[in-house]
């Protein structure tokens, strides 16, 4: 029987078999959202009317033999960073409170064309800046494994919605780990495709050379199915790759890693990594060896500088990108009393509209780009980027994919890093190199840490345009771990009580 705990692939099969309708599935998920979301707060906006209309249309199409994609009729949660026509899109910021985009992002267009039902918009750190979803102007999201803990960020809403069975699929975006780290700390799967693999049109820009949308799900195959729906060339995004989408569904179904070389990154373990995280990571490595893969140790010495370079490049790009929030064309406007000048209104609006982390990064980026400091900071960071890519190239010469823990720790308590931005930034230490080099990265669950019983993420990195390789390894690892555990990891999460 299909339930909200089924995988998206199972739901799709049940829809195809006629044992459930899209309307029934959609209603079941809204019932769960009503039950648990007051406690989880994964969603910022629910479009029940629109979603049910989409579901009805999907059911009608299916009756007529029209099935636009393998995920037709399956519900999904959309991160609030992506524009959806007529639906409030805030990016987790007061700046965009009440804004209803007049157009669809390409990701949304593709989802609609595929018949995927969009339930609503999920919570996130303001403008995708953060690792905990605590920076949302609309209050934090709570981790379904322990409601006093963070669900990761910036896409904590999407990951929590999956873990709380409020949606079987979700969309995230990943600039420095915002898909993968939330996946890691919620026991779900998240994939950052190769940069340019999924269109950024309609994705509210944070750091344009790093931002990438991708699939979030509870299984590797579900992520692959969603990946193929949203990926592909788009002439509206000049950085979109004009090449065939890697065959990730086929790769996820292979369940075979015999003879594959798995590069274990020396620099992404040890100091700073929680003991229970490393323990589960090594179990994952053992599972891959048992399945016939070969481990190779690789060294990427520049990774030690990746975090520093990221916190120059991302703020620099953000200081430029967020200049568009000028209170003139959309978003809030503060202090327009008929006397104040445009500049004064702009200054007041940006004071009110942006939260502390966004202001911190805009000022940091403005500094890094300012005359006299440009070469020392932004220029040096761009050179580190070159060195990181060289490290990756050398590592991929020895291995098909690279692996590491996704995040150094399990989910921490809400509020734990409030006064220490640097400690917060360390959450992204293992995910950032992937964005800097534009390659693919995936996180999938590899067990629960012994010390706190919370999920641990296993990261797989694949060369640019070879996203299929991480799906192949991820699918095989997931199958090996599932047979060892006997049940999906989310079966071990506490059942959320209705509030």
């Amino acid at each position: 029987m299909t339930t909200i705990r089924s995988t998206a692939a199972e739901m799709a099969a049940a829809l195809a078999a006629g044992t459930v309708t899209s309307v029934e599935l959609t209603e079941a998920h809204y019932a769960q959202i009503e039950r648990v979301d007051p406690a989880v707060h994964a969603f910022l906006y629910l479009d029940k009317e629109g979603a049910l209309a989409q579901a009805e249309q999907s059911d009608a199409q299916r009756k007529n033999g029209q099935v636009p994609s393998p995920l037709a009729g399956v519900p999904l949660a959309l991160k609030d960073v992506l524009a959806q026509k007529g639906i409030p899109t805030t990016c987790g910021s007061k700046m965009l409170e009440g804004w209803r985009p007049p157009y669809d992002s390409t990701v949304v267009t593709k989802l609609k064309e595929a018949g995927v039902v969009i339930l609503g918009k999920t919570n996130m750190d303001e403008f995708a800046m953060g690792s905990s979803t605590e920076n949302s102007a609309y209050g934090p999201t709570h981790n379904p494994w322990d409601l006093t803990r963070i669900p990761g960020g910036s896409g904590g809403g999407s990951a929590a919605a999956l873990a709380a069975f409020e949606a079987p699929l979700a969309i995230g975006t990943d600039t420095g780990g915002s898909i993968r780290q939330p996946a890691a700390v919620t026991g779900t799967v998240g994939v950052k495709p190769t940069y340019g693999g999924v269109s950024r049109y309609g994705l509210i820009a944070f750091s344009s050379s790093l931002d990438q949308a991708g699939p979030c799900a509870r299984t590797v195959l579900d992520a692959a199915l969603l990946h193929e729906v949203i990926a592909g060339h788009d002439e509206r995004d000049s950085t979109s790759i004009n090449a065939a989408v890697p065959q990730v569904v086929k790769a996820a179904k292979k369940l075979d890693v015999k003879g594959m070389k798995i590069g274990v990154v020396k620099e992404l373990q040890g100091e700073g990594f929680q003991a229970g995280v490393l323990e589960r990571f090594h179990e994952g490595l053992d599972a891959l060896v048992s399945a016939g893969a070969e481990l190779v140790e690789v060294s990427c010495p520049t990774f030690d500088y990746a975090l520093a370079a990221y916190y120059l490049i991302a703020p620099s790009e953000c200081s430029s990108n967020l200049a568009r929030f000028d209170s003139m064309r959309y978003g809030i406007r503060v202090g327009d009393d008929g006397v104040r000048s445009a500049e004064e209104v702009m200054n007041l609006t940006r004071h009110e509209g942006f939260g502390p982390e966004v202001k911190r990064r805009i000022i940091l980026g403005t500094y890094a780009l300012s005359s006299g400091y440009y070469d020392a900071y932004y220029g040096s960071a761009q050179k580190v980027r070159t060195l990181l890519m060289r490290d990756f190239n050398a590592a991929f010469a020895k291995a098909d994919v690279l692996v590491s823990p996704t995040a150094p720790t399990t989910a921490f308590k809400i509020g734990a890093n409030d006064n220490d931005p640097l400690a917060m930034y360390l959450n992204d230490i293992a995910t950032i190199p992937v964005n800097m080099a534009g390659i693919g990265g995936m996180s999938l669950p590899c067990g629960l840490a012994a010390e706190d019983g919370l999920p641990v993420g296993f990261q797989i990195m694949s060369p640019a345009m070879r996203d299929d390789l991480m799906y192949q390894v991820g699918g095989a690892l997931e199958a090996a771990l599932l047979s060892k555990w006997g049940a999906p990891i989310l079966d071990r999460a506490p059942v959320l009580a209705a509030k």
């Binding site: 200081s319 000022i363 020392a376 931005p421 534009g438």
Partner: protein, 98 residues
């Protein structure tokens, strides 16, 4: 690198068009000092012989044919405007009265 002062932050905030009160300036000056101290280490490995990378996947000069195609109507483009007048964005005064 010189430590970042409260005056520096005030200047940056002005450039970035963000009003900041004294408490915010003080707090941010302290935080930025710590953050810049940590990120400055990029200079340790950024030798003169290393070329910079601005973009991970090389894609150059993407052009399209100069033909009209569907886009937003004026009403749609104005739909999010904080204020509008006669089919245009209405903004506060840009030039002073003098």
């Amino acid at each position: 690198m010189a430590a970042i002062s409260r005056e520096d932050v005030a200047h940056l905030a002005k450039l970035a068009r963000i009003d900041m009160n004294d408490a915010e300036l003080d707090h941010l000056a302290q935080e930025l000092d710590v953050i810049l101290g940590a990120v400055a280490r990029v200079q340790e490995v950024a030798g003169a012989d290393v070329p910079p990378t601005s973009h991970p996947i090389p894609v150059n000069n993407v052009f399209r044919e100069d033909v009209a195609r569907p886009s937003l109507t004026p009403q749609e483009a104005l739909s999010g405007a904080p204020a509008q007048i006669d089919g245009r964005f209405k903004v506060p005064q840009i030039l002073g009265e003098e």
